[in-house]
C-alpha cells in the first residue's frame, strides 16, 4: 500500500445523524500521537462520502465511530461501496455503542474489529499496527 513515508494513513469517519464526536476525536488524536496520519471527516457523513474520502486519500484504515444504533445499516453499506470501488484492502474498524450480539454480524461482513466503550486507545493502536505489519 502506498503509505507516504511509511506512515499509516487513517480516515476517522462519523456517519449518520449522531453528533457525539468525543470518541471520534479522542481516537483521532490518539492515532496521530501514535505517529499515524489522520484525516477526520467531520460529522454526518453518508457512506458514499466516507468511501469517496477513503479512496481519494488512499488510506490504510477506516475507523467508523457510531453511537446511534444505526451500525447494522452503516457498516454493510460502506463495505458494499468499497467493493464497488475495488478498494477491498482497507482495514475497517469501528467503535461506539455497539451491542455484543451485533459484533459477529459486523465481523462476518468484513469489519476487522469493533472497540466498545471502555477500550484503551492503546489497544486500538496496537491492533492497527499489528494488522498492517509488512504492508
Amino acid at each position: 500500500m502506498s503509505s507516504t513515508k511509511g506512515k499509516i494513513r487513517v480516515l476517522i469517519a462519523k456517519p449518520g445523524l449522531d453528533g457525539h464526536d468525543r470518541g471520534a476525536k479522542v481516537i483521532a488524536r490518539a492515532f496521530r500521537d501514535a505517529g499515524m496520519e489522520v484525516i477526520y471527516t467531520g460529522l454526518r457523513q453518508t457512506p458514499e462520502q466516507i468511501v469517496t474520502a477513503a479512496v481519494q486519500e488512499d488510506v490504510d484504515v477506516i475507523g467508523i465511530s457510531i453511537l446511534s444504533g444505526a451500525h447494522l445499516y452503516i457498516f454493510p453499506r460502506i463495505i458494499e461501496l468499497l467493493k464497488e470501488q475495488g478498494a477491498t484492502d482497507m482495514l475497517i474498524i469501528g467503535g461506539g455503542i455497539i451491542p455484543e450480539i451485533d459484533i459477529p454480524k459486523l465481523k462476518q461482513i468484513g469489519v476487522a474489529e469493533i472497540f466498545t466503550p471502555g477500550t484503551h486507545t492503546t489497544k486500538a493502536i496496537e491492533f492497527v499496527k499489528q494488522r498492517l505489519q509488512g504492508k
Binding site: 445523524l17 453528533g19 492503546t122
Partner: protein, 555 residues
C-alpha cells in the same frame, strides 16, 4: 480563637500528621477530582478566611441563593423525578410514559430520534437506519397526539429535548393541548432549545448562529405572552460535560451561553424580567460527589449575580438558577453493568445535595443500548430511595458550612468567572464558538481524561482495575429501525393524502415570507403544524431561507 486554631494546625502538621505519614505514606502523589482539580488532605477555617455568611451563602430563597432557590426546598416539595424516555413509534413511547407515570414518576421527558432532532421526516434518505432508534419519531402533529394520548397536559409537565426544531415541536405540543381542551397558558414544561451548546458539544444544529438566535428570541417573546408557564430554554451543560469537559468548563460555558441568550433577548427589544424567569438550566452530575455539589452551589451564586448586577433584573425569579440534572451517561461502563446503579446513586445524591429542581437517573444499561424496562424502573427507584429512605431531603443544603465544600464552591466560582471573562473578551459566546474556543478546551480535557485512565492515574472499576471475565450481556431493548421507518413512512404518506394540501402550501408560504422579514415566526409555525405540515417541510422552508451551519472541525 483564630490564632489558637493556627497554632494547633501547625502542631498537627508538624508533629501528629508528619509522624502518621511515615507509618502510612500517601497512596499517590496527587489527589484530584474527576476534573483533575487538586484536593488537599484537610480543610479548616484557614481555607475560608473572612467568610461572610450573608454575602456568600445567606438563607435558602435569598440572594445569592447558594443554599437553594426556594425557602423550603425539599421539605416543601421534592424534586421532580423526570426520566428521559422515548423510542420507536409514538404508540410505544406513549405506553412507556403511562407506565412511568403509573410507577410514580412525576413529570415527562421526551427523547426524540435523530431524524426528528435534525429536522428530517422519517422518509428522508438521511433518516435511514435512524428512525425510532434513540428516541421517538415525530413527523407531524398526528404523532404528537398519539404520544400524549390519555395523558392530561394540564396535569403533567413535559420536558422535550429538542433544539434546532424546538419551535416546531413546541407548536405541536400547544396544538395537541388545545385539542385536549387545555389552553396555552395552562401548559407547563420545557423545550431544551439551547442551540449554542449544539455548536459547542452535541452538534445537532441546522441553521447558522444568527438565524438560530432569531428563532429563539421569537420564542422568548411569544411564550412570555402566550405560554407563560413554559420554560423557553434549558441552558445545558449536560452535553458539554458528556463531550469531555471538566466541571468548571461545563459550568462556565453554560453560564456564558446563558449570558448570550439574555443579551439576545434584550437586543430583540425584550425586558430582562419578561423572559429571564423562564430560563432554566440543565447540568450533568458526574462521579465526584463534592466537586458536583460545589458546581451546583457556585452556579446559583454566579447566575444570581449576573442577573442582578450585569443585566439589572429586578424580579427575584429572574435571579434564580433553576436546574434539571441528569446523571453522567459518559461515566457508565459497558463492563460489569450492575456497578452503574451505584455510580448513578452517587451522582443523584450529588444533584440532590446540590439542590436540583428535577432529576433524571440513568439506567444501568445505557452504555449498551436504550434502557430496557426493568433497568428504567431501577433508575426511578434509585431516586425514590434517596428521597424517602436516605434522609438527605430532611434539611436544606446539608453540606453548607463544610470547610471543604465552601472552599471548593469558592474555587469553582472563581475559575468559572475567569472563563466567563475570557469569553466576554472574545466578544461573547457566539464569537468564541466561531473561533472554536470552547470546542478546543473540551477536546483537550477529554483527551487528558482518557490518558489519565489509560495511565491509571484515575481508576475506573471494571475498566482499568478490578476486571472480571465478562458474563454474557443482558437482553437489551432492540429496535429495528427499518420496521419503525416503514411504519412511520406509511403513516406519513397516508396523512399527506388526507390533508388539505393547498392549505399546507399556503401556510408554508406565509412562513417563508415571515422568515424573510422580521415578524415573529411562532404564529406561522403554529398554523403550519395545525394544517398538518410535517416537521421536515417546515424545516426545509427555514433551511432554504436561513442556510445551514458548517462546523470548523478540529481535533
Amino acid at each position: 480563637m483564630n490564632d489558637r486554631i493556627k497554632s494547633e494546625q501547625q502542631r498537627w502538621k508538624n508533629k501528629i500528621a508528619s509522624s502518621a505519614v511515615k507509618r502510612h505514606p500517601k497512596r499517590k502523589e496527587m489527589f484530584t477530582t474527576v476534573s483533575g482539580k487538586p484536593i488537599k488532605n484537610l480543610y479548616t477555617p484557614a481555607d475560608v478566611p473572612d467568610f461572610d455568611y450573608l454575602t456568600k451563602l445567606s438563607f435558602p430563597g435569598m440572594y445569592p441563593f447558594t443554599r437553594g432557590i426556594q425557602a423550603t426546598m425539599y421539605r416543601g416539595r421534592l424534586w421532580t423525578m423526570r426520566q428521559f424516555s422515548g423510542f420507536a413509534t409514538a404508540e410505544e413511547s406513549n405506553r412507556r410514559y403511562r407506565l412511568l407515570l403509573e410507577r410514580g414518576q412525576t413529570g415527562l421527558s421526551v427523547a426524540f430520534d435523530l431524524p426528528t432532532l435534525m429536522g428530517y421526516d422519517s422518509d428522508h434518505p438521511l433518516a435511514m437506519g435512524e428512525v425510532g432508534k434513540c428516541g421517538v419519531a415525530v413527523d407531524t402533529i398526528q404523532d404528537m397526539e398519539t404520544l400524549f394520548n390519555g395523558i392530561p397536559l394540564d396535569k403533567v409537565t413535559t420536558s422535550m429535548t429538542i433544539n434546532a426544531p424546538a419551535a416546531i415541536l413546541l407548536a405541536m405540543y400547544i396544538a395537541v393541548a388545545e385539542k385536549q381542551g387545555v389552553k396555552p397558558d395552562q401548559i407547563g414544561g420545557t423545550v431544551q432549545n439551547d442551540i449554542l451548546k449544539e455548536y459547542i458539544a452535541q452538534k445537532e444544529w441546522i441553521f447558522p448562529p444568527q438565524p438560530s438566535m432569531r428563532i429563539i428570541t421569537d420564542m422568548l417573546a411569544y411564550c412570555s405572552r402566550e405560554v407563560p408557564l413554559w420554560n423557553t430554554i434549558s441552558i445545558s451543560g449536560y452535553h458539554i460535560r458528556e463531550a469531555g469537559s471538566t466541571a468548571v468548563q461545563e459550568l462556565s460555558f453554560t453560564l456564558a451561553d446563558g449570558i448570550a441568550y439574555a443579551q439576545a433577548g434584550i437586543d430583540a427589544g425584550l425586558e430582562i424580567d419578561e423572559f429571564a424567569p423562564r430560563l432554566s438550566f440543565f447540568f450533568n452530575s458526574h462521579n465526584d460527589l463534592f466537586e458536583e455539589v460545589a458546581k451546583f452551589r457556585a452556579a446559583r451564586r454566579i447566575w444570581a449575580k449576573l442577573m442582578k448586577e450585569r443585566f439589572k433584573a429586578k424580579q427575584e425569579r429572574s435571579w434564580w438558577l433553576r436546574f434539571h440534572t441528569q446523571t453522567a451517561g459518559c461515566s457508565l461502563t459497558a463492563q460489569q453493568i450492575e456497578n452503574n446503579i451505584v455510580r448513578v446513586t452517587i451522582q443523584a445524591l450529588a444533584a440532590i445535595l446540590g439542590g436540583t429542581q428535577s432529576l433524571h437517573t440513568n439506567s444501568k444499561d445505557e452504555a449498551l443500548a436504550v434502557p430496557a424496562e426493568e433497568a428504567a424502573t431501577t433508575a426511578l427507584r434509585t431516586q425514590q430511595i434517596l428521597a424517602y429512605e436516605s434522609g438527605v431531603a430532611n434539611t436544606i443544603d446539608p453540606l453548607g458550612g463544610s470547610y471543604f465544600i465552601e472552599k471548593l464552591t469558592n474555587e469553582v466560582e472563581e475559575e468559572a468567572w475567569d472563563y466567563i471573562n475570557k469569553i466576554d473578551e472574545m466578544g461573547g459566546m457566539i464569537a468564541a464558538i466561531e473561533r472554536g474556543f470552547p470546542q478546543k478546551e473540551i477536546m483537550e480535557a477529554a483527551y487528558r481524561y482518557q490518558q489519565a485512565i489509560e495511565k491509571k492515574e484515575k481508576i475506573i472499576v471494571g475498566i482499568n482495575e478490578f476486571l472480571m471475565e465478562e458474563e454474557e450481556q443482558p437482553p437489551f431493548l432492540m429496535i429495528d429501525s427499518e420496521v419503525e421507518r416503514a411504519k412511520q413512512i406509511k403513516k406519513l404518506q397516508a396523512l399527506r393524502q388526507q390533508r388539505n394540501s393547498a392549505k399546507v402550501e399556503e401556510c408554508l408560504k406565509r412562513l417563508r415570507i415571515a422568515a424573510r422579514g422580521k415578524d415573529n415566526l411562532m404564529p406561522f409555525i403554529l398554523e403550519s403544524v395545525k394544517a398538518y405540515a410535517s416537521l421536515g417541510e417546515i424545516i426545509d422552508v427555514l433551511r432554504e431561507e436561513f442556510g445551514e451551519y458548517q462546523e470548523p472541525s478540529v481535533f
